[in-house]
């Protein structure tokens, strides 16, 4: 060791002067440049529950988009001769063999109803002989549409209301927050029932009712976040540069609010879907003969003891949509929150 030290001679030639060119090399960043979103998606990918939910939802969305142009059979066409047929995919598949237990005997309902060979109803038919699978496809599509419209209201009203309230602060903020409190103190259901006095029950009145009240949580979250963001130094810097408030909102506030907005949207979609299902279930939602998850559940529930499949499948789909949206929203929240960084 000491030998080595003696051999090591330090001369002026062992040193190199740092020049401007070297400074450039020192300042080089070699890691790949990741945007905030790329980083968040990388973290989301590691969350298995969220990814499974994401793929499930993607499949459900694709199926409901397909249902706009194509369903196995007309979802509203009645065929009383084929009423209450159990699910059938093929012979011998448990639960999907087209047989039912009638008075203790297993009978082939399809044979009883003289259904031609090769005609199968994957999820059976309802009491009017309508194909449940087609109705379920249409129903999910309608539920998702309501979720989408509710989201649009959330974004259009909630985000801008929150931004204005938070940015102006002071008296404007005070008044706007009191208005929010008044609106949120009226139960949704009351608003929908009042709407029925003015409009016929249906998609429009549901969306209207949700448009009136659904954006409140979003507005509150955006306002709270804006209050903290507006005193951030980069927002002050933009102000000293002479950026207008609208430009500041678009360039600085909304990008920095995006995680809050996305997460809140993911939570508000299932709420809207559930609200519609609830309204349709109690009979003031989507009118017959159109299918939605709520009407399917309401119809299925009437014959649940004898024909449980009529309720099981819509209920299962509704549960899957709700759980998947919530798990995905949870995953997104973790992915967007830098504090959960590993």
């Amino acid at each position: 060791m000491a030998d080595n030290l003696n051999k090591l001679k330090i001369t002026p030639a062992s040193f190199k002067t740092v020049t401007a060119a070297n400074v450039d090399a020192q300042e080089k960043i070699s890691t790949p440049s990741l945007t905030f979103f790329q980083d968040a998606i990388r973290r989301l990918r590691k969350n298995r529950a969220a990814m499974i939910s994401f793929w499930l939802l993607l499949v459900i969305v694709i199926i409901s988009v397909v249902s706009i142009w194509w369903t196995p059979s007309n979802p509203n066409a009645q065929n009383v001769a084929y009423a209450n047929l159990p699910p059938k995919i093929g012979q011998g598949i448990p639960g999907f063999s087209g047989q039912a237990n009638v008075g203790g005997r297993i009978v082939d309902k399809y044979a009883q109803a003289n259904v031609p060979k090769g005609t199968y109803y994957i999820l059976g038919t309802d009491y009017l002989g309508r194909d449940l699978f087609s109705r379920l496809m249409k129903g999910v599509a309608l539920s998702l549409l309501i979720g989408l419209l509710a989201t649009l209201f959330d974004l259009a009203i909630g985000v801008s209301y929150g931004l204005i309230s938070g940015w102006h602060g002071g008296r404007t903020d005070n008044i706007m927050q009191r208005i929010i409190e008044i609106i949120s103190s009226i139960p949704n259901l009351v608003i929908v029932i009042l709407m029925l006095l003015l409009f016929t029950p249906g998609l429009n009145s549901i969306v209207m009712a949700m448009g009136l009240t659904g954006w409140i949580t979003m507005a509150r979250l955006v306002r709270a976040e804006t209050l903290t963001l507006k005193s951030q130094e980069y927002v002050l810097a933009a102000r000293t540069l002479g950026e207008s408030p609208v430009k500041i909102a678009v360039k600085h506030l909304i990008p920095n609010l995006s995680s809050t907005i996305i997460i809140q949207t993911m939570f508000s979609i299932p709420t809207a879907i559930f609200f519609e299902a609830f309204l349709s279930f109690i009979g003031i939602g989507i009118p017959a003969p159109n299918a939605s998850l709520g009407t399917l559940l309401a119809d299925g529930q009437k014959a649940f003891r004898f024909l449980p499949y009529q309720m099981w499948y819509p209920a299962a789909v509704l549960s899957i949509i709700m759980i998947a949206f919530n798990l995905l929203a949870d995953g997104l929240r973790d992915a967007f929150d830098p504090k959960t960084q590993e």
Binding site: K28, I29, S33, F36, E233, L236, A237, L241, E243
Partner: protein
């Protein structure tokens, strides 16, 4: 560095009896700035020191019109900034810029460096094509000693010193005459502090800038400033040239502040005596104004105290 005939020089900023109260008239009223007056001459660096909460940053933010003053006047180049009309506001914003304290909070985390630096260029329509914009950004990056590759990176990839230099480049983009540096170095390591302060000085020489340099670190302020004002409880306590404040402090608060500066010499540091300051003398109900004790050396005092200070100054 400093000349004695400061009266002959052009005043760029005149602050006259500025008051800035928050929640005025309410129970939680805060008198952040309480009647201060000072001038900043063109081309000089005016240091503003004081402890946390003394109103330094508020002063800076009032001058750049982030706050609306409660009363008093701020003249920039002879023009009252509170009277600037909306359409002239943009040109005012070009002339005066600010460098912020926290390099981690002053850059938008969702924007690329080139967009951060070019923000002012876009607002004021100073560039007309993408190439021109890129060229300007590259020039600014060179000016602050950053590599051109950094333009496409995001702020979180940089160190504190590099971020602060990005902030400086953003302020310089619009070619301002006057820059308010609001504690630009207090969030940085000592080694990086020197780097940033030297950069600020170099740029001042090259572009003939005027600085208002806000800090609580007296040694660094002395290094960069021509004149120093000491602030306490929203009032200016002492105002003089940097050497004068450092070598012949008059007000007890300034003395106390100077005695708190650590010395980079273990022996001297061990022997260093801290002078305590009791701010009760500020609250005895007497009216005090800034009074000239020796030429260009002002101290907040009553008429009786002036005599005492004059005696003290002669010793």
């Amino acid at each position: 560095m400093t000349t004695n005939n400061t009266t002959a020089r052009k005043k760029l900023i005149e602050v006259k009896h500025l008051k800035q109260y928050f929640n005025a008239g309410k129970a939680n009223e805060v008198k952040a700035i309480d009647d201060i007056s000072f001038d900043i001459y063109e081309g000089e660096t005016f240091g503003l020191v004081g402890e946390s909460g003394s109103g330094k940053s508020t002063t800076g933010r009032s001058i750049i019109r982030l706050y609306q003053p409660t009363s008093g006047q701020i003249l920039f180049d002879g023009q009252d900034i509170s009277q600037i009309k909306h359409r002239d506001m943009l040109s005012f914003r070009r002339d005066m810029q600010m460098i912020f304290q926290d390099p981690y909070a002053s850059l938008d985390p969702r924007m690329k460096v080139k967009d951060i630096i070019a923000e002012g260029l876009d607002v004021h329509h100073l560039v007309h094509s993408e190439q021109e914009r890129g060229a300007r950004v590259n020039k600014l990056l060179d000016l602050v000693g950053l590599s051109r590759d950094h333009a496409t990176r995001y702020p979180h990839e940089f160190s504190g010193g590099q971020r602060q230099r990005i902030g400086i480049a953003r302020a310089l983009a619009v070619n301002p005459k006057f820059i308010i540096a609001d504690e630009p170095i207090s969030a940085l390591d000592v080694s990086i502090q020197a780097q940033v302060v030297n950069l600020l000085r170099d740029i001042q020489k090259k572009q003939k800038l005027t600085y208002l340099f806000i800090a609580h670190d007296l040694s660094m302020v002395k290094y960069i400033s021509d004149r120093i004002a000491v602030m306490h409880n929203g009032k200016l306590i002492e105002l003089a040239t940097a050497d004068e404040v450092y070598n012949h402090p008059l007000h007890p608060y300034t003395k106390s502040l100077l005695s708190a500066v650590p010395l980079p010499d273990p022996v001297a540091e061990r022997a260093r005596q801290r002078t305590d300051y009791n701010d009760a003398i500020e609250f005895d109900g007497q009216q005090r104004t800034l009074q000239e004790i020796t030429p260009d050396h002002f101290v907040l005092a009553t008429n009786d105290e002036v005599i005492a200070y004059r005696k003290l100054a002669q010793v």
